[in-house]
Each structure stands twice: as C-alpha cells, then as structure tokens.
C-alpha cells in the first residue's frame, strides 16, 4: 500500500471506471444531436434576421458563450425546478433524474457554439447557387435543405468536430450534480482506495482513447463529405 504507484491497482480498477463510459458518450452524443438542432435554428434566425427572435438568438449565444459551463449547469439544476414550480406544473421535480438537467445545460451550451459555426458555413456558400436554385423553380426552404445545408455541413464539419471533442471532455463536470460518468466513477473508486492518482490516470486514458476514435471518425466523415470538391 505504501508503494509510490500501484500499477496493479490501476489495471484492476480500470474496468470499473470504464463501466461508466457509456454515460459520458450518451451525454456527449445526445447533447450534440440536440445542440445541432438548436444551433441550426439559431443560425437561421440570425441569417434571415427574423425580428425579435433573432435578438433573442443573439442574446442566447452571447450569454452562453460569456458564462462558464459550470455556472450554466447550476443554473439548469436550480433554475428549472423553480421555473416549473412558478408555472405550477404538477410535476414532482424530485423525481426528475439529474441527467435531464445535464442534457438541458449541455445542449444549450454546445448549441450556441454550433450556431456560429453553422452560420458562417451557410454564409460561405456562394449566392449564385441559391439564385440558380430559385431559377429552376425551387423554394427558399427547398434550396436551403437540398443545396445549401449539405454543402455547409462539409465546411462546418471540422468545427463540429472541435465542439464535439470539447463537449465530450466537458461532460466531466456532470458529476457536480450527481451524474455518475467517468469522472464521478473515478472519484468514487479513488475514495475507496485513496489511490486517486491511479484512477485519474485511468480516466485520462479513457477520455483520450474516446477522442482518438472521434478523430478517426471525423477524418473519415470529412473525406466522405468532401468528395464533390475533388478536382
């Protein structure tokens, strides 16, 4: 027990920490998916300068990027029950699992960053193709979803990758409201043995490996979506 670094313990505790990796992945993928929808809507509101709604969108992006995620998690955790209570919704907030507040906070957080990536990507598509879509009789919505957005995705993909990897690592904050993901599990296991360094090495390795896999997937996706740009 007095050795400086217990390799044996590190290996033994690894599976126990890895067991919570699905929670980390679930939060990441789920929040990313919701965040993409929020980001697209926010970007479109800003591009088309919809009155009132675009001001709200601007405020939302500014607020989210200007406050720490940690604060946002607390705001979600303590704020949502208050809002629901105020609205007198007959829902016992005590029964809502903590992970719901995490989804809310993370989706809104990543959505704000994604909206700026999406906005710049959409605005990077040349206007000529839009005019062309109109001239063959397509509507605004049709040209947006069939011509512009598919090309914007190609442009935005590297930024999406950055956001996603950032998001995945940010899930390590979820433990503060009691969601047991990789980080929380490492804390629990570490507290039992007091071998904190070993278990945190484990969690670092797991995060890193997930990131490596993500990078490969993104690289493959990028190659696939750039097919039309090859000369």
């Amino acid at each position: 027990m007095n050795q400086l670094f217990d390799f044996d313990y590190m290996f033994r505790s690894f599976p126990e920490i890895l067991r919570q990796a699905p929670v980390t992945l679930l939060i990441s993928v789920g929040s990313m998916a919701i965040g993409l929808v929020i980001g697209l809507i926010t970007a479109l509101l800003k591009i088309y300068k919809i009155p009132v709604l675009s001001w709200i969108a601007t405020f939302y992006v500014s607020f989210t990027r200007g406050t720490p995620l940690l604060v946002q998690i607390y705001l979600s955790y303590y704020g949502i029950p208050k809002i629901l209570a105020f609205m007198n919704i007959g829902l016992n907030i005590g029964q809502v699992p903590s992970i719901v507040f995490i989804y809310v906070a993370y989706s809104l957080n990543v959505g704000a960053y994604l909206s700026e990536s999406i906005r710049s990507a959409i605005q990077a598509i040349d206007k000529g193709q839009v005019e062309d879509a109109y001239s063959v009789g397509m509507s605004k919505v049709q040209s947006m979803f069939r011509i512009i957005i598919p090309q914007a995705v190609t442009i935005a993909l590297p930024n999406f990758g950055n956001s996603f990897i950032g998001l995945m690592k940010d899930t390590s904050l979820a433990f503060i409201i009691g969601v047991v993901e990789i980080m929380a599990q490492a804390k629990i296991v570490g507290a039992r043995s007091l071998r904190f360094f070993e278990v945190y090495i484990n969690s670092a390795i797991i995060y890193w490996v997930i990131c490596l896999i993500m990078e490969r997937v993104l690289y493959w996706l990028e190659k696939k979506t750039r097919k039309h740009l090859e000369t």
Binding site: D126, G128, Q129, E131, D132, A133, Y134, S135, V136, G137, M138, S139, Q142, R146, I147, P150, Q151, T154, K227, H228, L229, E230, T231
Partner: protein
Amino acid sequence: MIDIIDLHKAFKKNKVLKGVNLHVDPGEVVIIIGPSGSGKSTMLRCINYLERPNRGIIRVDDLKVDARNVHSKQIVALRNKTAMVFQHYNLFKNKTVVENVMEGLIVAQKMDKKLAYDTGVSYLEKVGLLDKLNEYPAKLSGGQKQRVGIARALALNPKVILFDEPTSALDPELVGEVLEVMKDVAKEGMTMIVVTHEISFAREVADHVYFMDDGIFVEDGKPSELINSPREERTRRFLSRVTLRVT
C-alpha cells in the same frame, strides 16, 4: 408571347432600368448588347424575379405579372416558365452533372425520378456530355460546366431561356463549344433572350438585336441593320469599341 412593358429598377438611389420595353415572339432569338453597367443583366434577372423590379409588367405566355402588385405564387409560376443560364454557371457543387439537371425536375416539377434521370441523360447527350454524367462540377472545365447549365435549362422545358453573358467567364478557347451548343438550341426553335458581348454570334444567330445603354434600349433592329449600320451615335461608338477589340 413575351412582353416587357415599362420596366423600372433601382438599387437604392441608383436607377438601373429606366423604362424598358421588349417584345419577343415564340422561337425568336433576341440578343441584347451594350456596355457594362448599362442594365442588361439586371433586366434579364428581372424577368425571372431574381431581381424585383420597382415598376413594370412582365408577360410570359399566358402569365402576366405586374410589379406593383405581385403575388409570391406568380413569382414561382414565372420561374417555372423561364430558365436561366448564368455567367458563372452556378452549378450545384454537391450534385453530380446528371443530378444537377434532375434537381429542378424532381423538386420543382415533381417529376418521377426515373423519368427525370432519362430526361437528364438525353439533354446531356445533346450537349455532348454523356461521358460526364456522374462527375461533380469541380472536375469539369468552364465550357463543360456551361454546357451542363444549358442542358439543365433545356430540361426544364421552359417557354424561354435567359442567357446572362454565358461565355464571359470562359477561357477564349472554350467560348466556341458553348456558342455551338447555343446555336443548336436556337435552331431547334427555343425562344432565347441572350445578353452577350459576342457580336459575331449576334450577327449570325439573332433574329433581333437590342442595344442598351444607361438603362434604356437606345435602338433595336435586325442584326444586319443594327450591327452594320447603326442609327445612333452611342451604338456606333460601342460597336466600334467592341469590334476593334475582336479584330
């Protein structure tokens, strides 16, 4: 069949079109020449409402659009009766050559996919691009891209095709192949309104030539009359400048 009556268009305070009138009969090839900035392209773009005219009437076939009281359904209808070939091709970069031709047919005209594909192939054959069906536009030369543009316009089966300086962005050695295709289209009786700087093409193909300067048509006539013996001083000056450059 196509009538444009007293068309006005201003960008902010800059008046670009100052009362343009144009009549085109079915099957006619009308060519519009004139100096840069005279309003030729703007006029063309008003015909399918890529630009919104401030005033004037546009009549294509049985559809009449009054700029002062225009409904969005009319704009869609207008666009369905017209097709456009752009200076910078504007092909959909995320679609293959044949998909570029099919897109308008499937999405706007609700054509069956199989039929749209066959239609696309037959028009691409017409412009000599049968071997490029599944290439993306990035792999094509400028001349090939513009031929796709023409095939796409033809496939829509429009009442009129609007050509907006279709050869101006091309390398000189690629201009010929595009003009050849346009000649074929004209021969088959398609109604065409062409904005161009190719005076020799105008002389050879046009039924009627208009000269535009400073937002109005200064004069018009048969190509032989207007190009060989223009009445107006402005037309003479312009023609001497462009033909000097050519010869």
